[in-house]
């Protein structure tokens, strides 16, 4: 009974929103809709040059009761470029996602603990997930609704995604679902994204976690890291002895 109640009271998140940062009307209608859909946390793509001062739309989301995590989408063309960007920008963002379009980038991105999310484009996806590679994932795999709604061949895209979901289930890779919406027409309810993930083969409980617990946990961990530097992974100062 308690588990069922907890399921009903889930907090939902959409970790990928990329609205134009200066279009306040667009952002206002998105924020209103997200509040109606009971989304409590969003990941907003903010380029490094717009970090200070934070765009006004961040405040707009917050007034609707939606927590905003700053997100950076990296599209590196080489391993070196990825590592350089991570070194420079990791401390400024609550979320870092890497677009894996080159095998050398993918191999590093899936294992680097500074990368939170990886997104695969096209055939690179299947290649990386094949075999035992899925078991080495540290980053969560992002599945974007926009990949399905904007691509011309929905059937083929669903088929490819279904095969990949099977591999992630075998490899216990974490999955998150997001919309990658830039306007209200591209928004969907997180619960509906979970339904798509279920239909293509993810167990219902994992699909629901992909739009609630998993994204919330990622942001929570990163905020903790940003507030308090860690000595090493999982080790941080809890309290200091009182000075005499």
């Amino acid at each position: 009974m308690h588990a069922e109640w907890a399921r009903l009271m889930r907090t939902y998140a959409d970790l990928h929103l990329c609205p134009p940062l200066d279009d306040l009307d667009n952002a206002r209608s998105m924020a209103g809709l997200l509040a109606e859909l009971q989304v409590r946390l969003v990941g907003l793509v903010v380029p490094p040059e717009r970090l200070t001062p934070l765009p006004a739309i961040v405040e707009l989301f917050r007034t609707e009761g939606i927590d905003v995590a700053k997100r950076l989408n990296l599209r590196p063309r080489s391993k070196e470029e990825l590592l350089r960007s991570l070194r420079r920008l990791r401390g400024k963002y609550e979320l870092i996602s890497v677009e894996c379009s080159v095998p050398s980038v993918s191999r590093v991105a899936v294992r680097d603990r500074r990368v939170d999310l990886v997104h695969f484009a096209g055939r690179e996806h299947s290649n990386m997930l094949r075999g035992k590679v899925a078991k080495t994932f540290r980053a969560a795999m992002e599945i974007r609704l926009s990949d399905l709604t904007s691509a011309p061949g929905l059937g083929a895209a669903l088929h490819r995604l279904k095969r990949e979901i099977e591999t992630t289930v075998q490899g216990s890779t974490r999955v998150i679902g997001s919309t990658a919406a830039s306007n209200p027409h591209e928004l969907r309810s997180p619960r509906d994204i979970a339904a798509i993930l279920t239909v293509i083969g993810l167990p219902l409980e994992s699909a629901l976690e992909a739009v609630s617990e998993v994204p919330l946990e990622i942001v929570k961990k990163n905020r903790l890291k940003l507030e308090q530097p860690q000595f090493m992974e999982g080790v941080r100062i809890v309290r200091r002895p009182a000075e005499k």
Binding site: L37, L145, L154, D192
Partner: protein, 108 residues
């Protein structure tokens, strides 16, 4: 023989231009058939129960076992009669009473 249990969903449509209840109904059935085929469509037994023009909210009924599929089909809908549209499920319930407050029943 027991009647199959039903589930009701409250769906908000976000059209770029005003659309009629008939157009929405037609597009949703077409999407269901396109994605699940005739057998899947028959198994789902989806039906539009009500629609409110002012808020663009509709109530759909479907077989309990197919509610996730209905959600998925609605989420993947991107247009109605060539115009961009977004459909999102606001609530799902086992009884129509919980969803019906803002929406009148369609004439039969």
């Amino acid at each position: 023989m027991n009647r199959a249990s039903q589930r009701y969903v409250l769906v908000k449509f976000l059209p770029s231009q005003p659309v009629s209840a008939e157009a929405i109904e037609r597009s949703v059935y077409q999407s269901i058939r396109q994605m699940l085929g005739e057998f899947g469509s028959a198994e789902m037994g989806a039906r539009m129960i009500g629609f409110d023009d002012s808020s663009n909210k509709a109530i759909f009924r479907c077989n309990t076992a197919s509610v996730e599929k209905l959600r998925a089909v609605l989420a993947l809908m991107t247009q109605i009669e060539g115009n961009p549209v977004a459909a999102m499920v606001l609530r799902s319930s086992g009884t129509i009473k919980a969803l019906r407050a803002p929406i009148g029943r369609r004439g039969r």
